[in-house]
């Protein structure tokens, strides 16, 4: 889970933290790392606009989820439900320009907003059998498999930090999407909590 080398001149919000993460992580139990630079595009659209949604599907190959707090995947893109008319599209590093460009074209006839917000959040990955417990040290969401699971996301709080929690597999692996300015605090808090396990 080593973070990809920063492509100049970009610098990851948590660059310099790698050794700290290694120190706090224990393989198989719980591990923490940064996954910076994933393409993040914010999309606002009237969910009842069927043709607009169809154009998104055609353009990106991913269906916009209508069910709150869910994620759908397709063609290398993930669409996270953030609000009834808002989604976060996540794509491979460097693809934000392409996503924005193609969507803006496709959605031109409709009232919409497509914004590159790749730098607006960074991504932490918390993985391992104890990941749920670690997250529960600061997050009030019910993360029990009966309630949460792969394909679920939620905007919520961890400690005093606003984040998007997104579970991607059963390990479990959680992606924590956080504002760069809060990232050091979140990382510090998680590393401290990880000492318990």
């Amino acid at each position: 889970m080593a973070s990809s080398a920063p492509s100049e001149p970009r610098m990851a919000p948590l660059s310099g933290w790698e050794s700290r993460f290694v120190e706090a992580s224990e393989s198989g139990v719980v591990e923490l790392g940064e996954r910076p630079f994933l393409a993040h595009v914010n999309l606002r659209l009237d969910p009842s606009n069927l043709s607009a949604r169809a154009r998104v599907r055609e353009t990106l190959g991913v269906e916009l989820p209508l069910s709150p707090n869910t994620v759908s995947d397709g063609a290398g893109h993930a669409a996270l439900w953030l609000a009834p008319d808002e989604w976060l599209l996540v794509g491979p590093t460097g693809s934000e320009g392409e996503i924005v460009g193609s969507l803006q074209g496709a959605l031109a006839p409709y009232h919409h907003s497509v914004l590159d917000i790749t730098a607006n959040r960074t991504t932490l990955e918390l993985v391992g059998s104890r990941a749920r417990e670690v997250l529960a040290t600061g997050c009030g969401l019910d993360l029990h498999p009966r309630v949460f699971g792969p394909g679920r996301c939620a905007q919520t709080l961890y400690a005093k930090t606003q984040l998007v929690v997104w579970q991607i597999d059963d390990v479990p692996t959680f992606r924590l999407l956080v504002r760069p300015s809060f990232a050091p605090y979140l990382a510090e808090f998680l590393c401290d909590a990880m000492l318990e396990w």
Binding site: R44, L115, A119, N120, A136, H144, S181, F182, L195
Partner: protein, 933 residues
């Protein structure tokens, strides 16, 4: 195991509590009482202990007011007795504290027979079940019954259930975890002790963990606690609760006393008497308040040769540092008076006044109580929604009944949470029926002196005190509590409150239910502040927000200021410069050549949609339809009552696309505010708002040489014609896509470069390098503030305080005069008070002495010789020493300020008054000759 108590070394066994170990070593006097300075012993065996308090641990781990009955012995434990008052450690607390959130379908509080059975019944349905127990062991009262008693059969059954529970995937059991508070929405707080005081912990493991639980259903199985009786000398060491003596005997193998008298109002103390008797203690007599007790227990006692004195009570306990004898007499009728006195020698008096259901948790959320006839304690009238009670806390004192009530409660709770299973089968416990108690709460001594009949041993409150309270005219139990302070101690009067109520009821002649119990509030037992703070201490107290350029500021030795949660450079000292020196240098550099400032913390909101213009027209005081694409405009926002709320620059990036900037501190509030209007009042407007604050790093390059510096890094034409003031251009700066605008918060030629946050540091560095020939100077917020003040630009929160309108600031020019534009707060600007001409208005001040700086916050008067209270006409909002002006100056809010140009005002300070001349707020380059370079 060895431990230290009161400075001496003692020994105990694993599993002992501090109390059991001390009792085992024959200790009777534990410490002294808080006000009356009387010797006190150990009274109870759990959370109800009123006397045996210790200060635990040393140095930073020194912890006040812990009950010896709840402290487990560990090797090296250090404890010292306390007289009802503890002390704070002088050093910092080295321990770690953890918090976790948990969710469950059924939360069971207490792992006595009722709780274990309930958790089992709930857990087997598959419901997520949490069983929390304060004690280090599971079993509750059953831990204290003799192996041969009927309870033992129940225990076997429960052990099987516990073994089954261990196999349930979704059921978790935690000991040493006290449920402390019940709140709305099924929110429950519990504190787990993970490292016992004195114990060495594993690295990284927290000493305590605060559980924050959401429970769909709650089963309260917290049991009942035994109640003492108030009589003269009832506080002497050696007087203890009968159930506690039984617990010490059967659980800890400690026999309390050689020669004991038992005083009871009910059957439960007979078991204690018989078991002690069998263990070799002489039971001198069982003094029973009931006139003719006949249950199996009574006959067994008689068979064992114990003298049972019915219809009797203990009226006085005698002794010095411990009980030596009691005076026993026959109760007269229904009263608390005795006659036919007799004296019995003894070294222990074991008392049972009855059992009080522990319902405090439910009462915390407003459940009402009723006095329960037979048990003579109080029960819950109706449990709050999503909660049930089982076992002794429900007034069910028979084990057999408890073992059917517990599972039923567990099953019911699981069902309510949506889980079902086959009905459970419960064991039959052959158990003799108990006979009704005869409640007696206090016994009057023959001499009538009530001043050593204690109702609250912890707070040294006596029946006499209650009588004084009632005599003073008080009838409410809450008044009696406050008059006597009974019930306000560390254990919140667990052994006291019912007796206080009963004595009060008797004195005022009202039924017990009507008198009621004093209110119960969280927490159930005192909790350490640190445990509730959890990780939120030191570096983790609150988020520290930093910009992408932060590491550079740190390397340059910047001094930071806190703006909300952000750290912003305040100034960058060179060598040993202080703030003033650095700021003068930074200001000079900007005005003479070029400076740069990290403005990334400003809030940025993307506004998009066909109705964007209309939306902005409504939230800002000025109009946006005529703002050209590629240009920006300064705007103000008012609250509904017309007061300035935030300001910023609005950029038009497209026909239907804007970015609005906000102040650093206002970013979140402005977005919430905009969304509120959009979603609640104007849902018909097609506008999308998105926060993009951190998408962008913002670097301002400021000063006459800024064009040259930026020109080295970009192809964007920067001349005035191609890129006029308030223009916006897109391009590449230092190889990074950028949006550049010509905004000036200093009056100088300036460019604001916005780049993707991830590249912020690289671009900052490139600008820094490019500016070296001109000696580009990074500057902080203080210099920024001086530069803007010289130009009369305001700062929201400094020139304003929520009582200032844009008109007061002389900013009518930003207020749309168009009738059709109904911006938020407009109507308020013509209310009687807001429209007054003599309101405080923004002015500049020039101290008569050019070197004297008015303190920010100085108040202004017109007549400096007026005696106090003086008539204040305004105050200084900003004040600086200015290189550009070669003198000091200030901004102020001044009553009728705009009419006072040229007048002198005074700032009376301690021992002096500073005189200053009133001028307009724009003091530097009023013709704006510098901003185009």
């Amino acid at each position: 195991m060895s431990f230290s108590f009161d400075g001496g070394q003692r020994r105990g066994f694993a599993g002992d509590t501090l109390a059991s170990a001390l009792l085992a070593s024959g200790e009777r006097v534990f410490g002294r009482s808080i006000y009356h300075d009387r010797p006190r012993g150990i009274v109870a065996a759990g959370r109800d202990e009123p006397c045996a308090y210790v200060q635990l641990g040393e140095a930073g781990q020194s912890e006040p007011m812990q009950q010896a009955t709840r402290v487990e012995i560990v090797e090296g434990l250090v404890a010292a007795p306390l007289a009802g008052i503890g002390s704070l450690a002088a050093e910092a607390d080295p321990d770690r504290y953890d918090k976790v959130h948990a969710h469950c379908d059924v939360l069971v509080v207490g792992a006595g027979p009722a709780g274990i059975a309930a958790a089992w019944a709930a857990g087997r349905t598959g419901a997520r079940t949490l069983l929390l127990e304060d004690d280090s062991a599971l079993g509750g009262q059953l831990l204290g019954v003799a192996a041969e008693s009927p309870g033992a059969a129940g225990r076997t059954w429960l052990d099987e259930k516990l073994a089954e529970i261990a196999t349930f995937r979704e059921t978790r059991v935690h000991t040493r975890t006290i449920v402390s508070g019940l709140y709305d929405g099924g929110s429950v707080y519990a504190l787990e002790t993970r490292i016992r005081p004195g114990e060495a912990g594993a690295p990284g493991v927290s000493a305590r963990r605060l559980w924050q639980i959401r429970a769909r259903q709650l089963v309260l199985a917290a049991g009942a606690l035994e109640r003492p009786v108030a009589f003269s000398g009832n506080d002497l060491p050696g007087v203890m609760l009968a159930g506690a003596a039984r617990m010490y005997l059967n659980r800890f193998g400690v026999r309390c006393g050689e020669q004991a008298v038992v005083f009871t109002t009910n059957d439960s103390a007979y078991s204690a008497a018989l078991e002690l008797h069998r263990a070799g203690c002489t039971i001198k007599a069982i003094v029973d308040t009931r006139d003719d007790p006949r249950s199996v227990f009574v006959s067994r006692a008689r068979e064992a040769g114990i003298d049972v004195r019915s219809g009797s009570a203990v009226a006085v306990a005698h002794g010095g540092d411990g009980i030596e004898a009691v005076t026993v007499g026959r109760l007269l009728g229904e009263s608390s008076v005795v006659s036919e006195l007799d004296a019995l020698d003894c070294d222990r008096l074991l008392v049972s006044g009855g059992w009080d259901p522990q319902t405090q948790l439910l009462r915390q959320v407003g459940a009402r109580m009723v006095a329960q006839g037979a048990s003579s304690g109080f029960g819950i009238e109706t449990p709050p929604p999503a909660s049930t009670l089982a076992g002794a806390c429900n007034g069910t004192f028979l084990l057999g009944t408890t073992l059917s009530e517990g599972p039923a409660a567990g099953e019911r709770a699981a069902l309510a949470a949506g889980f079902r299973a086959e009905p459970v089968v419960v064991p039959d416990v052959a158990e003799p029926l108990e006979e009704a108690p005869r409640p007696v709460f206090f016994v009057a001594p023959p001499d009538g002196d009530l001043s050593s009949c204690y109702v609250d041993l912890h707070r040294d409150a006596t029946v006499d005190d209650v009588q004084r309270a009632v005599g003073a005219g008080l009838t409410s139990i809450e008044h009696v509590k406050r008059y006597t302070s009974a019930g306000t101690g560390a254990e919140q009067g667990r052994t006291a409150t019912v007796n206080v109520a009963a004595v009060t009821a008797e004195l005022i002649g009202a039924p017990l239910t009507e008198v009621g119990l004093q209110s119960a509030r969280p927490p159930i037992i005192p909790l350490a502040f640190g445990a509730m703070a959890g990780r939120h201490r030191g570096d983790l107290y609150e988020p520290v927000r930093v910009t992408p350029i932060h590491s550079w500021h740190v390397e340059q030795g910047a001094v930071f200021e806190d703006v909300g949660q952000w750290k912003r450079p305040l100034y960058y000292p060179l060598d040993d410069e202080d703030l003033d020196a650095a700021v003068l240098r930074e200001c000079a550099a900007v005005r003479a050549a070029v400076g740069m400032v990290d403005a990334s913390t400003l809030g940025k909101i993307d506004v998009r949609g066909p109705d964007s213009v209309e939306f902005l027209n409504r939230v800002y005081t000025n109009a946006y339809e005529n703002l050209a694409v590629g240009a920006c405009r300064y705007g103000l926002m008012c609250t509904l009552d017309g007061m300035l709320f935030d300001d910023g620059v609005v950029m038009r990036l497209g026909e239907e696309h804007f970015v609005a900037t906000t102040t650093t501190g206002g970013a979140a509030a402005v977005l919430d505010w905009m969304e509120e209007w959009l979603q609640t009042e104007w849902p018909d407007l097609d506008v999308y708002l998105t926060s993009v604050t951190e998408q962008w790093a913002t670097i301002a390059i400021v000063g006459p040489a800024s064009r040259d510096v930026l020109g080295r890094l970009t192809e964007i034409p920067l001349d005035n014609e191609s890129f006029p003031f308030m223009g916006i251009r897109h391009g590449v700066v230092a190889d990074v896509p950028a949006r550049v605008s010509r905004i000036s918060f200093s009056g100088e030629l300036a460019f604001e470069v916005n780049v993707e946050g991830l590249s912020g540091l690289a671009v900052w560095d490139a600008i820094w390098q490019a500016g070296q020939p001109e000696g580009i100077t990074p500057y902080g917020t203080e210099t920024m503030h001086v530069l803007r003040a010289e130009k009369g630009y305001v700062i929201v929160g400094q020139e304003t305080d929520g009582t200032v309108t844009p008109v007061d600031l002389g900013m009518d020019w930003i207020i749309s005069k168009k009738k059709s534009q109904q911006f938020v707060g407009k109507r308020s600007l013509r209310r009687e008070d807001t429209a007054r001409p003599d309101r405080k208005q923004l002015v500049g001040l020039l101290p008569h002495d050019h070197k004297v700086r008015l303190p920010e916050g100085a108040q202004l008067v017109l007549d400096q010789s007026e005696p106090v209270p003086m008539r204040m006409v305004g105050h200084v909002t900003s004040s600086y020493d200015s290189v550009a002006l070669g003198r000091t100056f200030a901004l102020a809010l001044l009553e009728s300020g705009s009419d006072r140009m040229g007048e002198t005002v005074y700032a009376p300070l301690e021992g002096r008054a500073i005189a200053a001349e009133v001028t307009g707020p724009v003091l530097f380059d009023p013709e704006n000759e510098r901003r185009d370079g």
